[in-house]
C-alpha cells in the first residue's frame, strides 16, 4: 500500500500516524502541518519527519506562514500545487488527511 498521509496540523502526536506500518508511507505537510518542517521545539526536530520514507511540504503554505526555505529540514522536499498533483497521481494510491 502506497499511502500518502496529509498532515495539516502542527501536531505533537497522532495515534494513527504512530501506528502506521505501510510499505510506503509518504508524509505530505500542508497548512499548519508545514511548521513540522522547520520548527525545532527545544532544539529537537518534529517526530513527524521520521515517519515517512518521503516527506513533502507545500511551498505556498510555507511561504504564507513566513517560514524560511533555508531553515527546512534537508529531508523535506518542497512541492507546489502542481507538484502535489503529480504526487497524488503518480506516487501514492490512497490518502488520509490527519
Amino acid at each position: 500500500m502506497k499511502l500518502g498521509v496529509f498532515v495539516n496540523q502542527y501536531t505533537k502526536q497522532n495515534d494513527t500516524l504512530d501506528r502506521l506500518k505501510a510499505d510506503k508511507v509518504g508524509i505530505i505537510l500542508v497548512q499548519n502541518g508545514v511548521y513540522n518542517a522547520t520548527i525545532k521545539e527545544k532544539g529537537v526536530k518534529s517526530s513527524v519527519l521520521d515517519k515517512g520514507t518521503e516527506v513533502y511540504a507545500l511551498s505556498e503554505d510555507l511561504q504564507s506562514r513566513g517560514l524560511d526555505p533555508s531553515g527546512i529540514d534537508s529531508k523535506v522536499k518542497v512541492v507546489d500545487y502542481g507538484g502535489l498533483v503529480d504526487l497524488v497521481f503518480n506516487d501514492y494510491e490512497k490518502f488520509i488527511w490527519l
Binding site: 500500500m1 499511502l3 497522532n14 495515534d15 501506528r19
Partner: protein, 138 residues
C-alpha cells in the same frame, strides 16, 4: 464488472466536530449508491473503524437527543449495525482509555440488528486500510 471497497475511519471526538456523525451517515449512504453506479459495478459492504480518541464515539448511553435534541452517535452506530456495516473499534485505544465492552455499543439487538461491533487490534484496521480501494478518514 468492478467491485470496490471503502474504509471509513474516525479519530475525532463526537459532538465537537460533525465528523463522526457524517462518517456514519456517509457509510450508511452506501445502501443507496447503486443508483449512481453502472449496472455491473458493485460496492462492497463498507467498514467503519474508530481509532484514537474516536473510540469515545462508541460509548453506550448517550443522551444527546434528550439534552440537545439531536440524534446521538449511539443511534447512528446502531443504524450502521442494522444496515450490516462492519464496525471496528481499536483495542489499543479502548484499553488506553480504560474502557471495556461494558461501556461500548457492541450490538443493536434492540432495533433488530444481527451485526455486532468488534474490538480489534490496530493491525486488523491496518489490514482493512490495505484491502480498501479508498479510505475516507473523518
Amino acid at each position: 464488472m468492478a467491485s470496490k471497497k471503502f474504509l471509513f475511519m474516525v479519530d475525532k471526538l463526537p459532538y465537537k466536530a460533525e465528523s463522526s456523525r457524517l462518517a456514519l451517515t456517509h457509510a450508511i449512504a452506501s445502501q443507496t449508491v447503486d443508483i449512481h453506479l453502472d449496472e455491473d459495478d458493485e460496492m462492497e459492504e463498507p467498514v467503519i473503524a474508530f481509532v484514537g480518541d474516536g473510540v469515545l464515539n462508541c460509548m453506550k448511553g448517550q443522551k444527546a437527543l434528550e439534552c440537545y435534541g439531536v440524534t446521538s452517535l449511539e443511534m447512528h452506530i446502531k443504524n450502521a449495525l442494522l444496515t450490516d456495516i462492519k464496525v471496528l473499534i481499536c483495542k489499543e485505544d479502548v484499553e488506553r482509555l480504560g474502557l471495556s465492552e461494558d461501556n461500548l455499543i457492541m450490538d443493536a439487538e434492540d432495533i433488530g440488528a444481527d451485526m455486532q461491533s468488534e474490538i480489534v487490534p490496530f493491525d486488523d484496521i491496518l489490514q482493512q486500510m490495505e484491502k480498501s480501494n479508498h479510505i475516507l478518514y473523518f
